[in-house]
């Protein structure tokens, strides 16, 4: 196994999976283009081939050197420290919270979901003083509303399910009244 670790093997496996998946799906659009000899698949397949070569080169390098740096420019030796189960649990929550927030944007809208998201992120970043969480949530929410709704009138997701949609409509009506529109 040389200097290979389980993380190295998982990394290589993930990249080879990407290579196989993208190569497999490339047959879905494998059609000739009349004005271009190489067709729509040539470019992606060259990229896939190069990625496979680089992945194999990477695992070969790691076999001899492990996670050593190779003297490239601007790289950081800072590696993830995910050994503590508590850190893993916290990071899982940090990574999933924005995805849940994004998924809720269409049905719930940003005006209703934003305060909960802001509070959750503050809490996940280690703030435990409830007063600070509430005050900062309100402050960031008002700053956000003030900049994008009141000043810039930017169109933002309003949700499509009642009562969330009604809440967004109420905020927009308030803004319109405030600006005398």
């Amino acid at each position: 196994m040389g200097h290979l670790t389980r993380a190295h093997l998982l990394e290589a496996l993930a990249f080879l999976l990407i290579v196989v998946t993208f190569y497999g799906f490339s047959f879905e659009f494998n059609q000739p283009i009349e004005i271009y000899r190489y067709g729509a698949t040539a470019w992606p397949r060259v990229v896939i081939g190069c990625l496979m070569f680089a992945t194999l080169g990477n695992i070969w390098f790691q076999y001899f050197n492990g996670s050593l740096s190779q003297g490239t420019i601007g790289s950081s030796n800072d590696e993830a420290d995910l050994t503590d189960p508590k850190t893993i649990r916290r990071m899982t929550a940090v990574l999933l919270t924005p995805i849940v927030f994004a998924w809720l944007l269409k049905p719930v809208g940003i005006y209703f979901s934003a305060p909960f998201f802001i509070a959750a992120i503050i809490w996940l970043f280690g703030e435990r003083r409830w007063k600070a969480i509430v005050i900062m949530t309100v402050f960031i929410y008002l700053l956000f509303i003030g900049l994008f709704l009141v000043i810039l009138n930017a169109p933002l997701p309003q949700g499509n399910i009642s009562p969330f949609y009604d809440f967004s409509a109420w905020i927009l009506t308030m803004n319109a009244k405030l600006q005398g529109i």
Partner: protein, 496 residues
């Protein structure tokens, strides 16, 4: 030229409303560039519909000013938070952020202010003097084969920057190129990898992907450090670089202006590649290349001078040929079209007033960077004093809005957060996020120009390499790749 410039200045400062738009553009560009999570593109996307109500010159001028000041503003977040405001500021973070960690944030920001202004002013002056002859040269000598060759060279350079090993550098660039293949192919319009989703037919939008890879992934990195108790608050420093320190880098500044301007002229390439190539050249010419990436002032100077030098140059293909050099210049085409104008050679004949107001505004915008930048830098540095648990949700909310506003799609917000997770996992394993982003940006441009280039030379490689610029750039790219491959093999041999 001087007469035209004075006439443009008079038109710009002769009307209070135009002055108001200019000031709004300068401050708006700087603010949106300097606020982590949003960028000048967010502001431009919001403002685009409103430009219909402005005079054509005012609309184009507003976007040109935002382009100049926003490019500078993005350096602030790159230096202070390792979150580049846009892709062209990514190389600034390589040395800027380590400088912040070493307690030299004031020095890095001060150098960014000065060099952005110098690069931008030099570029404006060259643009005013040489737009027409340069455009004529570009029309005759630069075509799709040359642009593909430059993309190839740029990607070869980018693969050796930012990753822990050469292999990971290549993998980073290739992942970016692979993501860029999602959506319609640029030649036949055939849908690729859209997995039945209509919204993906247009491909992965740059802005959400860039926000995800840069801003969101950095938030996740800081969250991990907080969770594992390794978080260190960045040190605030108000020490600016001395004039002597800056004078010592005069060669780097001059080289970066040339690299930045030449890259900026080429349509579709823009400031991003300029910054990467300038950084790469700084390393190549340095007597102490091993110091780059650890907080070397020359790294910040090279990247920031070049990306601002590219802003003026990017106007040349836009105004002379009607070809945008990047996302913001593409929006400027939309401003022209809203007013029934088409950027191109005819604009010089039909609307010379518009051209010279824009040129004058860009010159003064770059001058404003120097004045406002130096005054405001100390205020901006205080951002570092905000505890990260309060800054993180603000950045995520701004990024969410920035990702959504471009196309009005929730899918873009999801893409941004997925890119954030993917970016977090990759950067913690030693991959290069700037490499991925450059691959993503240049992927479609490279493929399109490769296809057009091959059609032009009738698929004959001999004809392709008989074009001197192509032969030179491809050879330089191959040499760069071969050198890095040799180093990779040598390091394996040494440790075996």
């Amino acid at each position: 030229m001087i007469e035209n410039f004075l006439a443009g200045s008079a038109a710009l400062f002769g009307d209070p409303f135009t002055i108001g738009i200019f000031v709004f553009g300068v401050i708006g560009g700087m603010l949106f560039g300097a606020i982590p999570g949003v960028s000048m593109l967010t502001l431009a996307a919001i403002l685009l519909p409103f430009t219909a109500a402005l005079e054509p010159a005012q609309g184009v001028m507003l976007f040109a000013v935002i382009y100049c000041t926003g490019t500078y503003g993005g350096a602030i977040t790159a230096i202070l938070f390792n979150i580049p405001g846009s892709a062209e500021n990514a190389p600034t973070a390589f040395d800027g952020y380590p400088m912040t960690q070493n307690g030299q944030s004031g020095k890095a920001v001060g150098a960014a202010v000065l060099c952005s202004a110098i690069g931008g002013i030099a570029s404006s002056l060259i643009m005013m003097a040489a737009t027409e002859p340069l455009a004529n040269w570009a029309i005759r000598n630069i075509g799709p084969p040359e642009i593909f060759a430059l993309v190839f060279f740029g990607l070869a350079v980018a693969s050796s920057i930012g990753a822990r090993t050469i292999w990971k550098g290549w993998m980073s660039v290739l992942i970016g190129l692979l993501i860029a293949t999602v959506g319609q192919d640029p030649v036949g319009g055939i849908n690729r990898y859209n997995f039945g989703m209509v919204d993906l037919a247009a491909g992965i939008a740059f802005v959400p992907a860039i926000l995800g890879f840069f801003a969101v992934s950095e938030i996740f990195v800081q969250a991990e450090k907080k969770a594992s108790g390794k978080y260190k608050a960045p040190k605030v420093s108000m020490t600016f670089p001395s004039w002597l320190e800056l004078w010592m880098h005069k060669v780097a500044v001059l080289r970066s202006i040339i690299v930045g301007f030449l890259c900026g002229i080429l349509p579709g390439i823009g400031a991003t590649l300029a910054a990467f190539m300038s950084y790469g050249e700084a390393v190549r010419w340095s007597k102490t290349p091993e110091e780059f990436g650890k907080g070397k002032l020359e790294g910040v100077i090279s990247a920031e001078t070049a990306n601002n030098a590219a802003t003026g140059a990017a106007m040349i293909p836009l105004l002379a040929l009607g070809l945008p050099g990047g996302a913001l210049t593409a929006m400027m085409v939309a401003v022209f079209q809203m007013h029934d104008l088409q950027p191109g050679p005819l604009v010089f004949m039909l609307s010379p007033d518009l051209i010279w107001i824009v040129f004058a505004a860009m010159f003064y915008a770059n001058l404003s960077i120097l004045v406002i930048g130096l005054v405001e830098t100390k205020t901006i540095l205080n951002l570092l004093k905000i505890p990260f648990q309060f800054l993180a949700p603000l950045i995520l909310m701004l990024a969410t809005t920035g990702a959504y506003i471009g196309r009005g799609l929730v899918l873009d917000v999801i893409v941004m957060f997925l890119a954030g997770i993917f970016g977090y996992l990759l950067r913690r394993s030693g991959f290069s996020i700037p490499g991925i982003v450059l691959g993503l940006i240049l992927g479609k441009i490279g493929e399109q120009n490769f296809a057009q280039g091959m059609q032009m030379v009738h698929y004959d490689l001999g004809t392709y390499f008989s074009r001197p610029i192509c032969a030179f750039l491809i050879a330089a790219g191959v040499l760069t790749l071969a050198t890095s491959l040799y180093r990779a093999f040598k390091s394996i041999k040494a440790s075996a």
